[in-house]
Amino acid sequence: MIVGQGIFQGMAVTLKTFFQTYAWGRVLLRAVGVKPSEGLVTIEYPDVKQKHHERFRVFPFLVYDASPDDLRCVSCKICEQECPPQCIHITGPAKDEQGRPAKAHGRTYPVEFSIDTSICMSCRICVDVCPFDAIEMDNAYELSSDERKDSMWMTKDALLKPNEYFQKIKPAEAAEVDARLAAKAAKAAAAAAPKPAAPQTPPPASAAGAA
């Protein structure tokens, strides 16, 4: 083997790669009988943004259905317990004057729900463990800030987002969740429908609780 052959062959590869990143270079390569592979693969970030896959996940958010007080979270605190870096902080469930759990839209709700996004590692375990599909992963990623207290400590107001937003950013996942919730609601309705005939005791108790 000729000394230096390996180096020249390597240089031919870099030269080819250089040419194929330009349109004129690709024409030139084809003209000399070299099949160019893909061209320029980088994108100019702030001007052009990468298209992310649907499952791309950044920090979690809380889903609400019709209005912000109709949130799905019932303050069961499972996510707070399971969160690996312990970044979820829940105060609640909300109580009324007598100290009984207060309800909105038939559900208990958290007084405060905050996520310390300076600790959160977007692992999605809170979404996996939530029995009510109340928490989902966001995909907004330009969240840098110059301090680590106020803007990175996301409170309930910042975390609450409508279900329409979830449907917009993750259509397939949201469809799955909606179908599951609809099935659950139908099952609950079916279970509730024949019941009132036999036991009449629970409704007054819940009515008193609501009052």
Partner: protein
């Protein structure tokens, strides 16, 4: 200064390389003692990146340790997940769904391709070939990371493999895209090899450098491509045949000399074998649930998983070597003891023996050829 100029006194020079040094792959420090340019003593100093992973794992449920394993060897999150999943499955007797097994093998082998191609780029960077090979490698790595993002939602911190299978099935069309990528990859690899394998400068720089004799490699319990480059036929995929690796016929590439060049070349050959496994796995992958019912229940409610008292050791052939997870259960939802056998850490202990008698510039190349990630060394 000697008073007699005719008989100069040579003194040993102590040089501290790192912890903030571009060639040390993270916060790692080498205290080298030099006689002229030759290394006579080299002491690795580690622990700058200690994050208390094992203790944290003992204070959370079994599932909650998965996102932390992503951060051990942050190049190979998928295989790290697989190692812990194997240990938990052995501990709790969890069956794995058929499709889940295939998906895990595909992910683990994609990780191997990704890791080997990237580490080759880094090795060349350490040798002074700034940029070009590394960027070629990263261009391909980026495509694999895109597949990981499509499947798991995150490029590097995947948190995807679970006991009993994988967390969620891959999106529709994913397997076809990976199939197209795998069939196109040899073309890139040939090009990459044209750039590197026969290059005279690389051969001069790496052949005969950092030789690790077979006996020493075995005695130091080195694993992975580092061991196989020294000519020892030991691959846990063959020796243990975990998961479904027994179904895939593949060769274990071996080196002869055990120098830096062999390590580079064994990695390239391993990529080719991984591509064969990938092709077969993508052809045979069955439909069905991606996770077994018991595994799915575990994902939904991690605290309900109370494995019986006992211990389990799950090990895999991670791209860097034997990655083992040792779990001891006392019947509670949290492990009583959680230990990780990290390949980077064990392989790094042999650094001094490889560097003695070499030039100081070679130490950088030898370190690059071991393939370490400090997240795994320090844990």
């Amino acid at each position: 200064m000697s008073p007699d100029a005719a008989t100069p006194v040579s003194e040993l020079l102590e040089v501290s390389l790192g912890p903030q040094h571009p060639s040390t792959h993270g916060v790692f420090r080498m205290n080298a003692v030099l006689d002229g340019e030759t290394i006579v003593k080299l002491k690795p100093v580690m622990g700058y990146l200690h994050r208390n992973h094992e203790q944290i794992g003992e204070g959370t449920s079994y599932i909650a340790s998965f996102p932390f394993t992503d951060r051990l060897d942050y190049f190979c999150a998928m295989s790290n997940n697989l190692g812990l999943a194997l240990a938990i499955e052995r501990l709790g007797g969890i069956a794995v769904s058929e499709r889940g097994e295939y998906l895990r093998v595909i992910m683990a082998e994609l990780t191997r391709v990704l890791n080997h191609v990237a580490v080759t780029g880094f090795l060349l960077n350490d040798m002074g070939a700034f940029g070009t090979p590394l960027l070629y490698a990263f261009r391909e790595r980026e495509k694999i990371l895109d597949f990981f993002e499509a499947a798991s939602g995150s490029r590097m911190m995947c948190n995807y493999v679970r006991p009993g299978g994988v967390r969620v099935d891959v999106p529709p069309g994913w397997c076809d895209q990976v199939r197209a990528f795998v069939s196109g990859f040899p073309r890139f690899l040939d090009e990459f090899e044209t750039l590197l394998t026969q290059n005279e400068i690389i051969r001069q720089r790496t052949q005969g450098v950092g030789v690790l004799p077979k006996a020493l490699a075995v005695n130091a319990s080195v694993t992975g491509p580092l061991l196989r480059a020294s000519g020892v036929n030991y691959d846990i995929r063959k020796a243990d045949a975990y998961s479904i690796y027994a179904r895939f016929p593949f060769k274990v590439p071996l080196g002869t000399v055990g120098d830096v060049y062999d390590r580079y070349y064994v990695r390239i050959l391993e990529i080719r074998e991984s591509l064969k496994i990938l092709q077969q796995a993508l052809k045979e992958i069955p439909d069905g649930p991606s996770v077994s019912p018991k595994g799915a229940a575990l994902v939904k409610a991690p605290r309900t998983f109370r494995p019986p008292k006992g211990e389990a050791y799950g090990r895999i052939e991670a791209p860097k070597g034997e990655l083992g997870f040792y779990l001891v259960s006392d019947g509670t939802p949290q492990p009583y003891r959680y230990h990780i056998r990290a390949p980077s850490f064990v392989n790094l202990t042999i650094l001094e023996d490889m560097c003695l008698g070499q030039k100081v510039a070679d130490a950088i190349v030898i370190l690059g050829s071991i393939d370490i990630v400090m997240g795994e060394v320090d844990r």
